[in-house]
């Protein structure tokens, strides 16, 4: 076999380097034309049931745009967050490095989002999240991060105000709270909202996400004889606690209020009996009467045969605003899109939205719905009526810990 001399080796290496250098920029510019959007969703773990729905919502919006924006193709990729901060941040970093992702949307859990937003800040990629923690548009705010869901301050005031309007004597509340960022935020503001009505919070149990045995919690709540059982938990915890409340005869005698619910995704898992006297505060319900929401609900039902719940609607709503932001900025640079969204007032899925430039909170309506009895339902998916919707009260500045959103 012929030996390669040192001189020949150096020559060929140099030639290869020149070739690589000449090819490199072309490859880079070809990649630059494509806008890579990452959906970081929970396909496994405690929220695995909603991962595919979130993925579906994001795809839906991109397909509506014909997978193209400002004349450039959109490449949609998704990764599994596992509802674990470590896994989610690792996969976001990987998608940025190997796929060139510059727009990140997701995940579902507030706790995981708080880790992902730090990656977005450090890597200067655009980030949209929809969830109950106040910190995305609060303590952890930055110029690249946005929150689509109503602020927990507004949401809990809408729930308390509207429920108390209908049930002024229901003064004793018992809370089940998810023991992580989401639960802590909504509990704090529900208690604050309750001050106006002299609500007596007769008990509050914090439970780890994924708790499967709720009989003890419900037994404890029943012993406190509350007027309202308010659930500030998430995922299957909501479903299991409602079932147990009915098993123990606490509900429907005592109304169950889900402070921050998903609506449709929960309703399909319950039957008409367990939906009786159930009130839900939510960021999305498929009968929301705005032009974008109505068209989306129609198209979605035509395609999938079921109405969209909060998960696909949130993913769809966030993706829409990102795509519209790119169009407004006439650029797909994350910094340009962030600037384009700041202070923008427009009509979108929730109706009128305004993106607070100081915090990046999307100011929009929060919905309060009441489930129907089985004899009131006109069709299989006619679960509830929207009792009220409001974007007020806005969170006062003194509550918001986003004092300086920083620079791009």
């Amino acid at each position: 076999m012929a030996q390669v001399t040192r001189r020949e080796f150096l020559k060929s290496t140099a030639a290869a380097s020149v070739l690589a250098a000449s090819v490199g920029p072309h490859v880079a510019s070809a990649q630059g034309k494509e806008i890579v959007m990452l959906g970081i969703w929970p396909f496994t773990g405690p929220f695995a049931d909603v991962g595919p729905l979130l993925d579906r919502g994001m795809r839906f919006a991109i397909e509506e745009w014909g997978s193209k924006v400002i004349g450039r193709p959109i490449k949609y990729i998704s990764r599994d967050s596992e509802t674990k901060a470590g896994a989610a941040t690792r996969r976001v970093e990987e998608a940025i490095d190997s796929e060139g992702a510059t727009f990140v949307i997701g995940p579902w859990s507030s706790g995981v989002a708080l880790a992902v937003t730090e990656v977005a800040k450090r890597r200067k990629v655009f980030y949209y999240f929809s969830g109950g923690t106040e910190e995305i548009a609060g303590k952890r705010c930055h110029r690249y991060g946005f929150n689509w869901a109503a602020s927990p301050y507004t949401a809990m005031h809408v729930v308390m105000d509207k429920f108390m309007e209908a049930n002024p004597s229901a003064k004793k509340w018992y809370l089940f709270v998810s023991d992580y960022a989401f639960g802590w935020s909504v509990e704090k503001y529900l208690r604050l909202a309750g001050q106006k009505y002299n609500i007596d919070f007769v008990g509050a149990d914090r439970a780890v996400l994924g708790t499967r045995e709720w009989s003890g919690f419900v037994g404890k709540a029943a012993a406190a004889k509350p007027d309202v059982l308010c659930l500030l938990n998430a995922g299957q915890d909501v479903i299991l606690s409602i079932r147990e409340a009915h098993n123990f005869g606490l509900a429907p005698k005592v109304p169950v209020v889900i402070g921050w619910g998903v609506g449709t995704e929960d309703f399909v898992q319950l039957d008409a009996k367990t939906r009786e006297n159930l009130w839900v505060g939510t960021n999305a319900y498929y009968t929301v009467n705005t032009p974008v929401a109505k068209k989306y609900a129609e198209d979605y039902q035509k395609k999938f045969g079921v109405p969209p719940g909060y998960a696909p609607s949130a993913a769809y709503g966030m993706t829409r605003l990102v795509l519209r932001g790119i169009e407004k900025a006439k650029s797909a640079e994350p910094a340009d899109v962030a600037k384009a969204l700041e202070g923008w007032e427009t009509e979108d899925w929730p109706g009128r939205v305004w993106i607070n430039p100081k915090t990046h909170q999307t100011v929009r309506d929060y919905f309060f719905i009441r489930c129907k009895k089985s004899d009131q339902m006109k069709h299989a998916h006619d679960y509830a009526d929207i009792v009220a919707s409001s974007s007020q009260p806005l969170m006062p500045d003194e509550f918001n810990e986003c004092k300086d959103i920083g620079s791009l």
Partner: protein, 287 residues
């Protein structure tokens, strides 16, 4: 803590504990006799629940559905042992562990394909709907019925294992399966029967829980860690140990919920750790 709350917590613990015991007995026997950490045990529990659901909404009804869940899941367990697990007895136990883990994933996906990914709520039969006032506390009738029936099944299992010839063979197999084999007993058939019985008990446990917790395809994955805690705490292959372990786990979890809710699940694993430190072979285990 007032008396009503304490009574409710203890009752909840006993009901949940009986279900844990039912699942734990099957897992313990399989682990003790076959040396298999059966990672498919949780999904067999889930399958029992779904079989009950299909039977109950169909012509078989709820009570027939309970029996069907026991028989169908036992038959499936027997088939798994006969067609798959048996082929790996001569190789390292890790292969069986991987096999059962793989089977659990396949069966979970099969549940999603057949019954869908969305959770289902199911009401108890009319006869057991509502609650009853026990004087100290108001308690759901269905849960009380589950406690009584599950206790009867557990007692029947104990009598079978302790008082019958076949039970003696299983106990002997747990002690020394090679010795049982040289005595001319068809130990392979004992393996199949034990695996089937263990699976059937898991299926029945799942069926009992349908009106309590409803259905979700991942319900088997949720229950499995608690089943393993029951076995480790009670002692490998020990039926009384599984019963004691199940009841302890259920009651501790429930009482802890009443005292300090965030520590409810934590307390179960802390109990196991303490049990292992005090008695590594389990509370009533021999090895």
């Amino acid at each position: 803590m007032n008396v009503a709350l304490l009574a409710g917590a203890v009752l909840n613990g006993l009901v949940t504990g009986m279900i844990y015991a039912l699942i734990g007995i099957g897992l313990s026997l399989i682990l003790g006799l076959l040396n298999i950490p059966n990672f498919a045990h949780g999904v067999l529990y889930a399958l029992g629940a779904y079989v009950l659901f299909s039977a109950a909404v169909g012509p078989v009804g709820f009570w027939g559905g309970l029996l069907l869940a026991l028989v169908a899941v036992a038959a499936l367990g027997g088939a798994i042992e006969y067609l798959a697990v048996r082929r790996l007895y001569r190789v390292h136990p890790d292969y069986i562990l991987l096999l059962t883990f793989g089977l659990s994933l396949i069966m979970t996906e099969a549940i999603i394909l057949v019954w869908g990914p969305v959770g289902i709520t199911f009401q108890p039969p009319v006869l057991l709907a509502g609650g009853v006032d026990l004087g100290v506390t108001f308690y759901p009738k269905y849960r009380l019925a589950v406690m009584v029936v599950a206790a009867a099944v557990v007692l029947a299992c104990w009598l079978f294992i302790e008082k019958t010839k076949y039970g003696a063979i299983i106990r002997a197999g747990i002690e020394d399966r090679d010795m049982v084999s040289v005595l001319g007993i068809n130990v392979r058939r004992v393996f199949t029967v034990t695996f089937a019985a263990g699976a059937g008990l898991a299926g029945l446990g799942g069926a009992f829980m349908v009106p309590v917790r409803g259905l979700i395809p991942t319900m088997g994955i949720d229950i499995l860690p608690f089943a393993f805690v029951v076995v480790v705490l009670g002692g490998l292959g020990s039926l009384p140990g599984a019963i004691l372990g199940g009841l302890l786990v259920g009651v501790v979890q429930s009482l802890m919920t009443a005292i300090w809710a965030p520590g409810a699940d934590f307390s179960v694993f802390a109990l196991m750790a303490l049990g292992l430190l005090a008695r590594p072979q389990g509370l009533l285990g021999q090895r």
